[in-house]
Amino acid sequence: MMDRRKFIKNTGAFITLPILLNGQAIQVLGANGGFNVEKTDGKVLVLIQLDGGNDGLNMLIPLNMYDNLVKVRPEVVLPKNKIISLTNLQGLHPSMPEINEMYDDEKMMFIQNVGYPTPNLSHFRSKEIVLSASDSRTVISSGWFGRYLDTLHPDYPDNYPDDTNPHPIAISIGSSSSPTCQGSMSNFGVVLKNLDTSYESPSGEQEFPDTPYGFEMEYVTQVMKSTQKYLEVVSETAELSESISEQWTEDNSLADRLKIVARLITGGLTTPIYVVNLGGFDTHANQVTEGETELGKHADLMRYVSEAVYAFQDELKQHQKEDDVISLVYSEFGRRIASNKSFGTDHGEAYPMMLFGSRVNPIVFGENPTIPASVEKKTNVPFKIDFRSVYASVLNLWFGVNKTEINNLLLGEFEILPILKNAVSVDDNINKPNQLKIMSVFPNPVINSAEIQFVTNGGQISLRLFSLAGKEIRNLRDGNLPGGIQSIPFTKKGLKNGQYLLVLQNGNERVSQKIIIQ
């Protein structure tokens, strides 16, 4: 039987070293020699997937293009007097007053014109592209977050869960695992339909032959064993919390699912990622009610999203968990600019994503799409922001993954967007990416002395040296620094030869790099 541990080592060369940082057990992982401190603990990402392709032009309406929208999508365009004005330039679907309130409350960010080059208009292929973070010509069977989790948990699922990792690594609400959490070998997703399930796995140890039969037997056996353990911990956690928000609405399947997520987060599960879906966005026909375009299928969907997201955020707030969670609302693609005669819209390209939470940068990022006065049937909203830029930003700014590693995970270099409040001030140029990083330690290995160059966002920083066992060895710098490039000298005096970890902390952000003393 194949050995997952061996497999990972052969292909990825990941190193796992448990260390203690300020007394807390953390894991240090590295790829290609660069070290990276795991810091998902406490940070949660909720992915809300709108299946079928959401009509962005009827969700976040470019008001400056309204006259042309009337011309090119007469069947579905919303009545101007019903559109909620979000800003002077953008309107919101009439069914989304709660989203408007969250924007005013500085908890909602929109990222316009998200897509990817050479779009694929097949639902299935486009979903694969978006969930795997591949380019449109490459087929990758792992998910983007799954690859990140691979680096944190290279042995999964062997012996999971255990004392170090007692909680699910990822959770999907529904009946199947999300491809987003597919690692190179296994899917990290624990699937939950509801919170009151228990299960007792059959006993027995076995050897599995190196055949398709053995492969599937091992898989089923493994899932049976971990199911029992995970369901115990999930139901125990859910017991520790209850829904207290009064904003939850009935008959809203997205709300039902987010309610489960909220219970688990507020109950104290350390799982860093949750995936929930809402289907029905493939609105080729009857997207709107004829003559009353603010009603219909899409209006119902927008209402589900708006109410569910609002209640979810309120629940987190009531439990003082708001600062730990950000949520991304996305789809496999947007829809055509032109409407069709069936009062619907066909598969399109770019569309706006929503990112929400108390920590997000509450702006509309990116300019309104340009809508010509007349379009061909096949004309689409062109993409300006690659969806992988959004993933890169989440990994970098939220989970603190360094850029080299992100390039490995996302198979290319993508711009980091200012998705968090502390990443950039509201007045600042929105294109300026977050800078926190250790730029260089030169020379490394350090023979006598070296110079450490790093970039901060300004404010309280600390730069410390740790042994790989997690003991703090030296405090190199502690204090307030202006944002930008900093440089400090470093000598090896008094240090034993060997490997050390340099950790730069700036506010809640933390980056690290391995150095060698010779």
Partner: protein
């Protein structure tokens, strides 16, 4: 090609048929893959046949013609209980009653299936030419669609594709009814290429999916304009004035094939054009391979199995029967390494446990009670991720297309406890079709008597293993199962207990004690990983 970092021994790559009598193990493998749970009597019926005889038998249509669904709800004011609604115009007022009837009728057909490949192939086609009854609410249309699936279960795939293109259910499902000149709707055209026939290839430039282009989709949509459905007759019809009569020219992939106005015959020409490409045959062959054998298709399987079968399929003008016969009689299909590697889908699991454990059907002729019983099965299967008549989307259930996990997607932390629940009801608690009916219970003695000598624990347990597990049990496993049945007592104690029951048939307590031990054993076996596999 597939991501195959893990190299598995996938056995003999030969399409040469196996020879000789099948024997129990091969007959079981064949029936488990071709039906929903092979029953002891069915395996015994097949085991003395050659593969040729067995497949001739399986490839016959069922002995009885398809009988239509029956209305079973008294609050359907148009259709009396016990009569069919398929000839009554659809009335949305009774949508839930009719949908209940349609879905459970279909479940009932799986439950009561003949020894035939019919229902497995109907399900294959349902997963291929998907319509969802959550989208197409008209049950009469769903029924017409179902009749078509049955008619072509192992018929001619090309003719099937043509008929499906203008089927009432499909026209509604993929918006064909909205597709007219000047206002094309591309929904069906896209899926026709992407899923139903040639399949999508890699995107090699903008709008070019190797096997077809966005341009081809637009031209095909024009070809398909003009069709509507009639809810009085439940048939589709063609309206010339809605048809796009311009000349349609396809991309270089189809050698710039043109279709000039042929009115209602045009769609057939479109299908003809797509079927000229070998990739169409390959696409279906791969799908059947994944359905019947295993989801991993590597370079070797592609060359030695898929490619020759695609050629054979084309040589036989897209007749399904010769293709299935070659595939299912091959040494490859019967290779030891590939037996037991298929994770049961939810219907194979729920229907299978009912059939294999000889779970009783409701007695008597109360058709409503039968439908109630099937509804329990339907509910449980849906709970495991597979609701018959309502696949998740137009691509069908993910387990048959989503790499790299495919089949494994059926097994996760949500479905595992739900599978255990099915076993609990079927084996331990019994099933009550509805509060007004009696509960039905498993009779474990029926299964015990499958053994030549049920009083011998070393005959009884291997008999169960032979029926329920894909492979013979190891000694460790046999010991574990003995421990469950006999609670740690020496073997002869089972004989003593069994004989005490046989010799004192009136001792209800003794009977119950033996039955409970047998049930505990069956519960354990059906909860094990081995029982998830066929």
């Amino acid at each position: 090609m597939e991501n195959t970092e893990v190299h598995l021994k996938s056995g003999v790559l030969s399409l040469t048929p196996i020879t000789g009598e099948l024997g129990f193990a091969k007959a079981k493998h064949l029936l488990n893959r071709c039906m929903f749970g092979a029953r002891q009597s069915e395996i015994e019926f097949m085991q003395n046949k050659t593969i040729d005889e067995a497949l001739d038998f399986l490839l016959q249509h069922p002995s009885e013609p398809l009988s239509p669904p029956i209305g079973v709800k008294s609050d359907d004011e148009e259709v009396p209980v016990g009569e069919t609604w398929v000839n009554t115009k659809y009335n949305w007022r009774y949508k839930s009653q009719r949908r209940y009837s349609y879905n459970n009728w279909w479940i009932g057909r799986l439950h009561k299936q003949d020894v035939s490949l019919q229902e497995k192939m109907v399900l294959f086609w349902h997963n291929h030419f998907v319509i969802e009854n959550d989208v197409v609410r008209n049950t009469n249309y769903n029924y017409r669609y179902n009749v078509l699936l049955n008619e072509y279960a192992f018929g001619n795939f090309k003719t099937f594709a043509q008929e499906m293109t203008v089927n009432v259910g499909m026209l509604e499902y993929l918006d064909g009814v909205d597709n007219k000149v000047g206002a094309p709707n591309e929904n069906y055209a896209r899926e026709l290429f992407e899923l139903f026939t040639i399949g999508k290839g890699p995107l090699i430039e903008e709008g070019n999916y190797t096997n077809y282009t966005e341009h081809d989709i637009r031209e095909a949509a024009k070809v398909l304009t003009g069709w509507k459905t009639n809810s009085n007759s439940d048939t589709s019809y063609y309206t010339s004035s809605r048809h796009d009569k311009s000349q349609k020219t396809f991309s270089y992939i189809f050698e710039n094939y043109t279709i000039t106005n042929k009115e209602e015959e045009e769609y057939k020409q479109l299908i003809d054009m797509i079927f000229l490409k070998k990739e169409t045959a390959r696409h279906i062959v791969r799908k059947l391979y994944r359905w019947f054998i295993y989801y991993r298709i590597d370079e070797e399987i592609e060359q030695n199995i898929i490619e020759p079968l695609a050629t054979l399929f084309i040589d036989n003008k897209f007749e399904i029967k010769p293709l299935l016969k070659t595939l299912l009689s091959s040494q490859h299909f019967f290779d030891e390494n590939l037996r037991g590697c298929m994770i049961k889908n939810p219907l194979e699991f729920t229907i299978g446990i009912i059939r294999q454990l000889e779970f009783p059907s409701p007695a008597g002729d109360d058709v409503a009670e039968h439908y109630r019983f099937w509804n329990v099965i339907n509910y449980r299967s849906a709970n495991l991720g597979m609701e018959l008549a309502d696949p998740p989307d137009v691509a069908g259930w993910q387990a048959w297309y989503l790499a790299p996990n495919y089949n494994q997607l059926w097994i996760n932390t949500a479905s595992i406890p739900n599978r255990a629940k099915v076993v609990t009801y079927a084996v331990l608690w019994g099933i009550r079709p509805h509060s007004e009916y009696d509960k039905l219970y498993l009779d474990p003695f029926k299964l015990a008597y499958f053994a030549n000598n049920p009083s011998d624990i070393n005959d009884l347990i291997p008999t169960f293993v032979k029926l329920l597990f894909p492979k013979p049990a190891t000694d460790d496993l046999l010991d574990e199962l003995k421990e469950t049945l006999n609670q740690g007592l020496p073997d002869f104690e089972w004989t003593v207990e069994w004989n005490r029951y046989v010799n004192n048939p009136d001792d209800a307590n003794q009977k119950k004690a033996v039955a409970n031990n047998l049930k505990r054993l069956l519960f354990k076996m059906c909860s094990m990983a081995e029982y998830q596999l066929i």
